[in-house]
């Protein structure tokens, strides 16, 4: 390193450095392009975009246009994303409530309870689950989860916990908030479990041994030593799972019921999430001659991008310098 780098060396470093910056480049490009493309919608809708319920492309056939803030849209056009914000938050919340205990349990099983080989085998299976394409999760959701919710789980919940307003019936067709949350839970368990497992595996051996020397049981070891030590890492894992749940598109789209213009009235009602709504509405949005519908969907995508960006930036912040995701590990396939 002491001698001056010849030009060839500098060229290699500069070129590979440019490629290494592609992650940053794409992030900035997405932000810039989506902001520019969404601009007419941002001008037309203003801040109420964030808290209005109706998503209405207006009268596409009447021929009359309205102009607001210098931007044209069909008569009656009005855009708000409250329904989709709520849908995204609620489905992700259900997913976390279900997935976090299960995933942490799996991580504890792999690192503390199971014999090494069984633990490794379970780890591989859980990672295979992470590799299942999201449309296949959606297919399974339509085929298995939604009927289960409609026939068994929904009626059961409504009967036992029906005194809580949001859990009361009607249960509906099974396609909706609960099914979407459950499918999402299954999808984020592998992510949370894999990261938690790595965090638990890095609890220093002496700490465990000191606990064991004091005669604690395994339960006490996990509760008083391992989990407290691993807390920030597990929180990072949960945040990572949250980011994934909020951005998941296809599986949610297939079991959510794609609600527009109506907030969920109970846990079984149809919802539309931000990600799923983009897919549902873009086709018809292309028929808007002013293009406003397509710009409004771009603004929705921009909002989703910014929200997941903030969630994902939390991960390195939570782990506070301890680079968790970057921990070298064979395979290196962890997200």
């Amino acid at each position: 390193m002491s001698r001056p780098a010849p030009w060839r060396e500098r060229l290699v470093v500069a070129t590979s450095g440019m490629f290494a910056a592609s992650g940053l480049f794409f992030l900035v490009a997405v932000l810039a392009v989506m902001s520019i493309f969404a601009w007419p919608s941002i001008r037309f809708n203003g801040w109420p975009f964030l808290w209005r319920i109706p998503w209405n492309v207006g009268n596409l056939y009447g021929g009359s246009l309205v102009v607001h803030n210098g931007v044209q849209a069909p008569q009656g056009a009005e855009y708000g994303i409250l329904v989709f914000l709520v849908g995204t938050l609620l489905t992700s919340l259900i997913a976390l409530v279900v997935a976090v205990p299960v995933a942490v349990g799996v991580a504890v099983f792999i690192t503390e309870v199971a014999p090494a080989r069984l633990g490794a085998a379970v780890g591989v299976l859980v990672e295979l689950l992470a590799g299942v394409p999201s449309v296949v999760f959606g297919l399974w959701g339509v085929e298995v989860v939604a009927p289960l919710v409609a026939r068994d789980l929904g009626p059961f919940l409504a009967r036992v916990l029906g005194f809580i307003p949001f859990l009361a019936g009607p249960v509906g067709s099974g396609v909706g908030l609960l099914s979407a949350g459950l499918v999402l839970a299954v999808m984020i368990i592998p992510i949370i479990a894999a990261v938690s497992r790595d965090v638990l595996a890095r609890v220093p051996r002496d700490m465990k041994e000191q606990g064991l020397a004091l005669g604690v049981t395994r339960w006490e070891l996990v509760r008083t030593i391992i989990l407290p030590y691993a807390r920030s890492g597990i929180i990072a894992a949960v945040v990572l799972g949250l980011g994934r749940a909020m951005g998941e598109t296809m599986a949610v789209l297939m079991v959510s019921g794609s609600a527009v213009n109506i907030l969920p009235y109970n846990i079984y009602s149809p919802v539309g999430t931000m990600a799923a709504t983009i897919v549902t509405l873009l086709d018809s949005a292309m028929t808007d001659p002013t293009g406003m519908a397509v710009h409004a969907l771009a603004e929705l995508a921009l909002a989703l991008f910014i929200i997941t960006l903030m969630v994902n930036i939390l991960v390195p912040v939570v782990t506070a310098g301890v680079s968790l995701i970057g921990t070298p590990r064979a395979g290196g396939d962890k997200r």
Binding site: A5, P6, V12, S16, F19, A20, A21, S22, G23, L24, F26, L27, A29, V33, M34, V102, G105, E112, V113, A120, V124, L125, E127, L128, L129, G131, P133, V135, V136, G138, L139, W140, V144, P190, T217, R218, W219, E220, G243, R244, M246, T249, M250, L253, M254, L282, L297, A298, L304, F305, L309, N312, V315, S323, I325, G326, A330, G331, G332, D333
Partner: protein, 280 residues
């Protein structure tokens, strides 16, 4: 443990064991059920005709979709592999501490960007602004954005695991840093790099959202032209045909799901075998 009897402590201990075993079963049950459901219904729909004929309305075969998936992912791989591996080499060998950390975080955050957002980005930039229309190239480049950070990070990790003594030996023999990087580090990291690439390919094959508004869908075989010609792919068949009320459509959806899951699992398993012994 003030005043608790040994019995209750032992009971709690057993309870923990039962709880984590239950959690493990709950998390693996869907994997089993997904594979079972898709295999049972997919096998019934599988036939040779599926691989040799194209989709006709809501029936016919999947030759167009299978070819499309392979073309889209192969082209994306051509872009993503060199980009990702070279980027990983930089992060592992040359990146200064601060800049390296920053670029690494950016790559990790990019893997967390919802794929539909990247799909919309591809739609705006390539389909609309560049005027390529729904096309192979627009779909592939969107998939590239998804694959690059995966390949880059796994390549980086694989290369950073090449022992330092190898680098030192190479430098001591008078090799320059780039020579050492290419001849020693890159070569030493190949198994891990390949694993990352293969898993990225498996993931790209399973993507739907980035392709719906970039590659769209076509009932015909890919024409081979890069732009102005939509392309079909398996994930679209699963999503679209399960929503149709016809039995023939459902059969197609399940067949597509089975082919897809076999391809993805094969890539995942091969990728993992390459590394062999995995550190837990």
């Amino acid at each position: 443990m003030n005043g608790r009897t040994g019995v209750s402590r032992r009971l709690k201990n057993h309870l923990l064991t039962i709880m984590v075993i239950a959690a493990t079963m709950v998390s693996l049950l869907p994997l089993v059920d997904i594979i079972w459901t898709v295999t049972a219904k997919g096998l019934a729909a599988l036939s040779w005709k599926l691989f040799t004929t194209v989709t006709v309305g809501v029936a016919g075969g999947l030759a167009n979709a299978i070819t499309g998936t392979i073309l889209l992912v192969a082209l994306a791989l051509v872009f993503a592999a060199p980009l990702g591996i070279a980027g990983g080499l930089y992060l592992s060998e040359f990146g200064s501490k601060r800049l390296g950390w920053f670029l690494r975080q950016a790559a990790d955050i990019l893997t967390g960007v919802p794929s539909i957002v990247l799909g919309y980005f591809g739609y705006v930039t390539m389909v609309i602004w560049l005027g390529w229309g729904f096309s192979l190239l627009a779909g592939s480049i969107t998939l590239t954005i998804i694959m690059v950070p995966y390949i880059m990070r796994s390549a980086e990790i694989a290369m950073s695991r090449v022992p330092h003594t190898w680098r030192e030996a190479s430098l001591a023999l008078g090799a320059t840093h780039p020579t050492t990087a290419f001849r020693i580090v890159l070569r030493g990291g190949i198994p891990g790099i390949l694993t990352g690439v293969i898993i990225a390919v498996g993931r790209a094959m399973g993507e739907t959202a980035p392709l719906i508004y970039t590659a769209a869908w076509s009932n015909y075989m890919p024409t081979g032209s890069l732009i102005h010609s939509p392309v079909g792919y398996l994930t679209y068949a699963v999503w679209n045909f399960i929503n149709e009320p016809f039995a023939s459509a459902h059969a197609l959806a399940y067949a597509a799901a089975l082919i897809l899951i076999l391809m993805v699992l094969a890539f995942n398993i091969v990728g993992r075998l390459l590394v062999g012994r995995r550190a837990l």
